[in-house]
């Protein structure tokens, strides 16, 4: 079973961004690292010149590096960037918006060692999985809202197709995308005049109900769960069902320890890998609701 670090979803200061990937390269026992901007295309230019160095360091450390696409592609420059991902030689591409399927697996991606499907593409059933397998996808990270019964069905179908099945196993869960930037809206701005106000919330801006219940987290155009998905105690169950990889979604704090705890769980080391999780990051209650509960928030 592999460990994948998903793309950093939040907007961090450039040096914090570089430090995160340097430490990940040097210390985190993970197999694949998905890197790049999947949430807001306005952020990318702020750290684009740091990506090459981060990729080289990760690869020197033996990690497979995957370049992510943007999750909601509308603007001309966003389409050009999406098309350009396949022109970059040597890196697998993670497709998080079907825009890239126009080129994937059709010879236009000849320089690219392969592509995989990210968690924001809707793969809910065997026929869809078969479609992507036939097009040449190496793996699919399933949508986080899928219950375990669906995950088990899909993992069983994936094996003979030769396509990997990954599940979202740690982090605030991406729930929605919009054309509108809610960080900007809350601060009385618009998406075009945002002044990158999302950089104030390294793990998302907590949204509470009027009764003070912690509910959601806003990350620019994206809305995430307040709770932090954590499937570390379910690693055995997932592996048995045929899940081939777990996705850990970056947060601030000691994320390397999160990676180490999951590695211990996968390797079957220690009696209680969950005890290795750092005592937190920002305070976020753990949840396994989407996979095993009646509601996602459970």
């Amino acid at each position: 079973m592999e460990l994948t670090v998903g793309p950093l979803l939040f907007h961090w200061a450039t040096d914090a961004w570089s430090d995160f990937y340097a430490r990940l390269a040097d210390e985190a026992p993970v197999d694949r690292v998905v890197i790049g901007e999947s949430v807001c295309s306005k952020r990318l230019p702020l750290y684009a010149d740091r990506i090459t160095e981060a990729v080289e360091r990760l690869e020197r450390a033996g990690k497979t590096v995957v370049l992510t696409s943007l999750a909601l592609v509308t603007l001309p420059r966003e389409r050009r960037a999406a098309a350009g991902l396949f022109a970059q030689t040597g890196h697998e591409v993670e497709i998080d918006d079907l825009t890239l399927m126009r080129w994937a697996g059709k010879g236009d991606d000849a320089h690219c060692p392969g592509f995989s499907i990210g968690p924001l593409v809707n793969v809910y059933n065997e026929s869809t999985l078969r479609f992507f397998a036939a097009r040449g996808a190496r793996s699919v990270c399933l949508p986080p809202e899928l219950p375990f019964a669906s995950v088990a069905s899909l993992a069983a179908a994936a094996q003979p197709l030769g396509i990997g099945v990954e599940v979202f196993a740690f982090g605030r869960v991406p729930l929605a995308l919009s054309a509108r930037c809610y960080h900007a809206r809350v601060h009385g701005r618009t998406k075009d005049s945002c002044q990158f106000v999302c950089d104030r919330d390294p793990d998302g801006m907590v949204v509470r109900t009027l009764d003070g219940q912690d509910f959601l987290a806003v990350n620019g155009v994206q809305t995430l769960s307040y709770n932090c998905c954590n499937l570390i105690d379910d690693v055995g169950t997932l592996r048995q069902a045929g899940v081939t990889a777990l996705r850990l979604s970056p947060h601030s704090g000691d994320f390397v320890s999160v990676c180490r705890a999951f590695r211990s769980a996968i390797d079957g080391q220690g009696d209680d890998p969950a005890a290795l999780l750092p005592g937190h990051i920002p305070a976020m209650p753990y949840s396994r609701g989407f996979m095993f509960g009646a509601t996602g928030a459970e």
Binding site: T99, R102, T128, G289
Partner: protein, 330 residues
Amino acid sequence: MATERLEIVCPAGTPAALRTAVDAGADSVYCGFNDETNARNFPGLNFSRAEMAVGIAYAAARGVKVLVAINTFPRAGSEALWHRAVDDALACGAHAVILADIGLLAYAAERHPDRRLHLSVQAAASNADAINFYAETFGIRRVVLPRVLTVEEIAAINREIDVETEVFIFGGLCVMAEGRCSLSSYATGRSPNMHGVCSPASHVAYAEEGEDLVARLGGFTIHRVPKAVAAPYPTLCKGCFQTGDYRGHIFEDPVSLDAATLMPQLARAGVRALKIEGRQRSRAYVEQVVRAFRRASEAEAAGQPIPKSELWRLTEGQQTTAGAYRKTWR
């Protein structure tokens, strides 16, 4: 010329609403089967197989097309239910089926290569490359555009695609990219993608607390208003929340979409059809809205001003927005 007039695509949640929409001047009517295969899977709504056949015949006799929405994402292990829905809708004589799922599109394209497939808004194809992927791969003939695009962006898309475009003009407004939203699932375990419901009534609870009326969804407070004020239905993304010192409608005010005044611009942007949301609405509502938009499309085609007052009447007492069609919404 009749061919240039914008097609008015009207909702029908029941056989009676279908007849009402047809009689009121709909060019086409969209509806779904009474199960989880369609994205308005509400109790008491939608069509049995027999009702669908009768409804399609009624519409066809009056020159109106019926589009059948099978636009949830089939559940792993149970795809046969969705496959049957596609087969049955086309066997009943549906003009087209409206689909969102890749696997279901692949099934329909293979089994029914000569029939019209429309791409549901739930597929969230938000640019020309994505739309062309669906057109080249599955032969879709029309795309319902997601509500994340400006009029200018819609015009640019139409210059690069060969399929027809349909856009939402009136009714409920999703503020998130449709088909990519698990907010309802997070709070209630029931989602648009999997169950065809959003913020379902089964998980809504109203309570009087002191001077307030509270509306909760899955136990989360979505609205808290003074008792004298009518509490809006607790649709999650239209709720009133707090973050830091901010208190308000973080995602969107409780508004509905009314882009009627943009009809001429949408026509110039190459849009073929205008969709009215509201399969859950009453016959009286459907009748009024359909009549108004039929007249508006005739006025637009004749180069006349859109009769505004009539459309305003339909949203009486309710705030409206042109949504993402104007860039400032973002």
